[in-house]
Symmetry: C2
Subunit: 426 residues, 2 copies
Amino acid sequence: MSQREKSQRKNAFYAQSGGVTSVINATACGVIETARNHSNKIANVYAGRNGIIGALTEDLIDTGKESDEAIAALRHTPSGAFGSCRYKLKSLEENRAEYERLIEVFKAHDIGYFFYNGGGDSADTCHKISQLSEKMGFPMQAIHIPKTVDNDLPITDNCPGFGSVAKYIAISTREASYDVLSMARTSTKVFVIEVMGRHAGWIAAAGGLAADEENDIPVVILFPEIEFNQERFLAKVKDCVESYGYCTVVVSEGAKWPDGKFLAEQDTRDSFGHAQLGGAAPVVANIIKDAHGYKYHWAVADYLQRSARHIASKTDVEQAYALGKAAVEMALAGDNAIMLTIVRLSDDPYAWEIGKTDLVDVANVEKMMPAEYISEDGFGITDACRRYLIPLIEGEDYPPYERGMPKYVRLKNIGVVKKLKTEFKI
Amino acid sequence: MSQREKSQRKNAFYAQSGGVTSVINATACGVIETARNHSNKIANVYAGRNGIIGALTEDLIDTGKESDEAIAALRHTPSGAFGSCRYKLKSLEENRAEYERLIEVFKAHDIGYFFYNGGGDSADTCHKISQLSEKMGFPMQAIHIPKTVDNDLPITDNCPGFGSVAKYIAISTREASYDVLSMARTSTKVFVIEVMGRHAGWIAAAGGLAADEENDIPVVILFPEIEFNQERFLAKVKDCVESYGYCTVVVSEGAKWPDGKFLAEQDTRDSFGHAQLGGAAPVVANIIKDAHGYKYHWAVADYLQRSARHIASKTDVEQAYALGKAAVEMALAGDNAIMLTIVRLSDDPYAWEIGKTDLVDVANVEKMMPAEYISEDGFGITDACRRYLIPLIEGEDYPPYERGMPKYVRLKNIGVVKKLKTEFKI
């Protein structure tokens, strides 16, 4: 490479935002491997330590210090390898200093590409950075790469991270249902599993996949989209137990009472008067016990579901990687202020391609479960929902194992030498 | 086969008892496939529908009606394919009628071999049946095949079912820890996972495998064997968060306060005054929050852990199958009133063989975690414990998948025509 070519290269910035997933590192892998393949254009990829906070505090990670093997291993490693954060930038009007600081840091480190891997909030940040950098005379190409287990971003067919959670919940619900069926004669008759999804019921819907033509399992789903009707719910559970001998309930953490309060927000206190922050699962289990007296068990999957790389969906891993790769390619082709999307071409066999959409169309839009995906009684999923979900959980992509345990990678995460004299307080 | 040979054949009875596991069907598979290979001695295997209740009520399942493919698929199907039950037979003095009924049913169906697949209680039942059948002039060979996720049976190196739960908990704890590490800068600092094991801390100990030389994860374990010391626990958690930025807590459902009460038995009430049956995980999370203010997440794995066939330990599956096979072979060789055992020959590489022990030595002995397996501070596991545990989780044994979901088998479970005129009330 000539000196001239070298001097024209820019660095890229990559950061992970919000709740992590079992495949967000596959996207990081796609970004970094593709950037390495274009080293004539991209000098290095700097990652934000703990997401955008790393950019604000000039705490950048030099991914160039990691071996090719370590970067390749990101593809099968859950969590956010560079750290993520829950830190929402205020509006431009409220805190212009934050945005200016970001651009100051990017300028100091000669960053020409901004890849932000996150959900709705980060799409908004990405958009503002693109606009402001232009105004400040240091134009950067800002590309948002979708990621969220909640699957609630608009326009894209789905969000990387969701397919693997959906697979985990579908499998776990099926496995636990087999278990309960075995025990129901003398013991547990109702099993309640609580799943993530505070606003949208996509993950809860995946529990419905536990049942199919060969697995006649009575699954009752409580969606955040459907107001909880205790009477109808109890009748449904009773009906299942009387017909099948048992019942499996999948409750979304976002399920709500008619007054809008979360089921999980029961006003419970322990013997010392401390508020007890329980989950929705024990609340639902107790409601059933009180009404019908059925013996129950309940589980709260919590982080287990979104970090379960051991049973990730192959489709999901492939899409997560492909989006990272495409982000770099599109940036080099001149794209800016876009979010990448998955475009579904057909359900069965599943065919998809990478698309893009303007960031202005993404910000502040949440994609809920459409009404036609929820069965008429409100407790199940429709065939249309199955056609949508099944491709997303297809395929297994097992990590390598050593002595019984998955081999996940921990990066060295060596910092880039700071260039600015100023500190920035978070 | 001559008529004479045919008439000398006996039927075998097989039943599953107590909480099911992800590999108890692998034992059933071993029993039935091996019996089929000895059809000159064993005419058919009848399974108890819902365990011993099926024998008491003469509700037997004719496994001969299942195809070889269906029986082979049991090897990768979690749960109890014939149904299990929680039903403890009373002592001979208290309810001799139950035992006599069992022998009456076995006699009516020409059963010469009694294979009972369960934990401590079923070992006791097995023993009594062997004794009584002899006294009643219809001697049966009673063989107990160990099974329990709790791993608390004596003499045997381990109990089938445990290795797979251990693997699931070790992996889930590692995966969730990676997740928390990613989030700890601005969000969750403490993750609490509750695991099974009401009396013994074997499953909790498996959480300690999340950490190893390459995975420096701060795991704090609360064992049932160690009295909960709130002050020391809080200091330990604080220490982890200050050194590592986060902390992972594995709490056994059997963890207890100094007064002997389970942590899970907090006297919590909801706003209507109903007792709230929570888990230990939310209690522990709240204790930490109250003292240190750390943001937390918690999970309760419950049935997910013991039904997680998708990530079963290969060692566990092989041992479960081998025990089923050996039970039939030993019965044919004349053994009676024994429990089969796993005998460990070496740790690394792990070598084992099948052994046997008199049932009299098994009954009413619970194997707790030995003191040398628990670290000095009471919150972790020792190297000796690792050497014991690692071989049990080694190897993966993935089930087949179709459209993203594991293909588990549901048997036809066709009943054997009843021969007795009497009913038996449970």
